[in-house]
Symmetry: C2
Subunit: 357 residues, 2 copies
């Protein structure tokens, strides 16, 4: 029998740990700034229906997703009031799965091919995705009205436009971030006039309070935060860490059991308080503590980028505060990860399992 887990330090490692105080404050802070449908939380950052339910409880019942699997999972969790796939797909099977959801599902389209695939597979509502200077998806502004007509001719409702100013969201200088966002949103607003519909969907955590043109903001990282967004001086606190165990310690360096398979590394190394991170291996993190670490010590590792970090983990553990001494009070499944849309017949998995039951 394993001992009953009571504190973060008792968890087997590596494990995702959420500081529920910080999470609640982040959710409340955002809800005060962008109440109700002004925020369309993006679930790609946390991939967790239990966390989405906390956002819905605060009045944000419209969600943004990056994959059909996220949409289907939200719908099955009873969170299907108004779901936006803010991404393009031409996968017929997955589009049909979206069309079959007991939910209002809207899909982003930016080309003839994506409009036609949506229409052919039963999608009933779209947004025209417009390029707003990030070199990724989104049609050219002059193409938008034609695509909207094409969608309407195919029997779909065009609810409006979206455009993601992803090149702006992490700019450290607030004035420059604002300028880039304004430039992007001026384009999006012009296109919205030509497309029609009510929705102008855009934005992210880095631009949530300076994107005035969008009718709704697609922020997601604000809930858990990460090292990169932490540099912007936003009113959101880091709420997600990986608890790790020191497995080696000598006078020059120490090693914890948290590596490349526990953290997204595209934004570089994670941070450890009172220590310098030297490098990460598959299952190791070599660091130099400012004090002396001992084998068996628990440390918290703060990932640089939340989204690809969460996607490595099956669950996140909830603690009643910061630090490794906090009590573990709940455990949430990261139930939206992967890409395969679960078969229709399977029962809805329970997202939250309170410990001790």
């Amino acid at each position: 029998m394993l001992p009953r887990v009571t504190t973060v330090a008792d968890l087997s490692t590596p494990a995702l740990v959420v500081d529920t105080d910080a999470l609640a404050r982040n959710l409340d802070t955002m809800s005060a700034a962008l109440p109700g449908a002004r925020l369309r939380p993006h679930v790609k950052a946390h991939k967790c229906t239990a966390l989405a339910r906390e956002q819905a409880r605060r009045g944000h019942t419209h969600f943004t997703a990056a994959t059909p699997r996220e949409i289907v999972g939200l719908a099955r969790a009873g969170l299907g009031d108004d779901l936006l796939l803010a991404n393009e797909t031409v996968d017929a099977g997955r589009l049909r799965a979206l069309a079959d959801c007991e939910a209002l599902v809207t899909v982003a389209v930016d080309s003839d091919a994506t409009v036609d695939a949506a229409a052919a597979n039963g999608i009933r509502a779209v947004l025209i995705d417009v390029n707003v200077y990030l070199p990724r998806c989104g049609c050219a502004p002059e193409d938008a009205p034609r695509l909207a007509d094409r969608a309407r001719s195919a029997g779909m409702e065009v609810r409006g436009v979206m455009g993601y100013e992803g090149h702006a969201v992490l700019i450290a200088d607030r004035a420059e971030r604002t300028a880039k966002t304004t430039q992007s949103m001026e384009r999006l607003a012009r296109v919205a006039e030509t497309v029609g519909g009510e929705i102008v969907s855009a934005g992210g955590t880095g631009t949530y309070d300076l994107n005035a043109a969008a009718t709704e903001i697609q922020a997601g990282s604000y809930a858990l935060m990460d090292g990169d967004y932490g540099k912007l001086g936003l009113p959101f606190r880091r709420a997600l860490a990986i608890v790790a165990t020191v497995i080696h310690a000598n006078e020059r360096w120490s090693v914890a059991d948290c590596g490349l398979k526990a953290m997204g590394m595209d934004h570089g190394n994670p941070m450890i308080d009172d220590a310098d991170v030297l490098f990460c291996s598959d299952e190791h993190l070599t660091f130099t503590p400012h004090g002396r670490a001992r084998v068996g010590d628990r440390i918290l590792v703060w990932p640089a980028h939340v989204d690809p970090t969460v996607a490595y983990h099956e669950r996140m553990q909830l603690a009643d505060g910061p630090g490794v001494g906090a009590q573990v009070v709940d455990s949430w499944a990261v139930d939206l990860r992967g890409w395969d849309v679960p078969a229709n017949k399977t029962s809805t998995p329970r997202a939250s399992t309170r410990r001790g039951k």
Copy 2:
């Protein structure tokens, strides 16, 4: 009803695809160089018992693992002849799970704390892990005999030593790679004399043919390969790609549905044949094809680092050759990922499900 998948281009994306011809050649090439127990394949690179079974079929029935979950999964798959946890842990529950395996399990130790934890939780055999100049785990050479005595006094067999020359395995210049490896192995051989036992375990894909001192080589990446190892001129071919779908194409760039949650990024961007990769987002890859891409095209994305790439995926699909036109002939579960050791009572999951059944 989804159509029956027949070719790589029919797969929903992103999906891991293994070229079975390249895989078989890689496995055969390594088996010719290091037959039988001269190779102790490291499963951390593929995390797949079905692939491990292919290695065992070629005579390599002793395996290396980085996590207790990998060890327990191998044992339950009937691959427990001789399993080495080439990593330190002080997790009592997981050590007991290793001790309870129906398998010969040997654990790496490098400190009083790791020796004591192994002994206290029923581990019967250890290797003394020696630092060979990579700043990670491994005891100081002068500590090794004392740790071996401590392990023996606690009733454990000391089967020998291990040491990983991880700082050498990716050095592009072969002469320099050889020199660093030789330096590391001279240290390890000296320590082996003071420790006793039969085993000197070391090495990786980059040093498999120039590490003459080790009695067994812990190579893993050679089976599937990746962009980084591909630069070394080794006789192993790239066998693992991610098939992705082009979801946006314009005259200046294209976008595929394969991003940061489908690939380890610690070694940088992946590669696409006949294209330049610009940047990766969570679920997007922006690239410039040398020709013109069209929405719906399938492309193969070659990851820079295999280990953290595989760990993002639930399955790998097996194709009977290279390219998106190859037939999909099988599907293997990536069944060793994550860290939680599955509960004792669950039945062994089937690792391989032939399509069409």
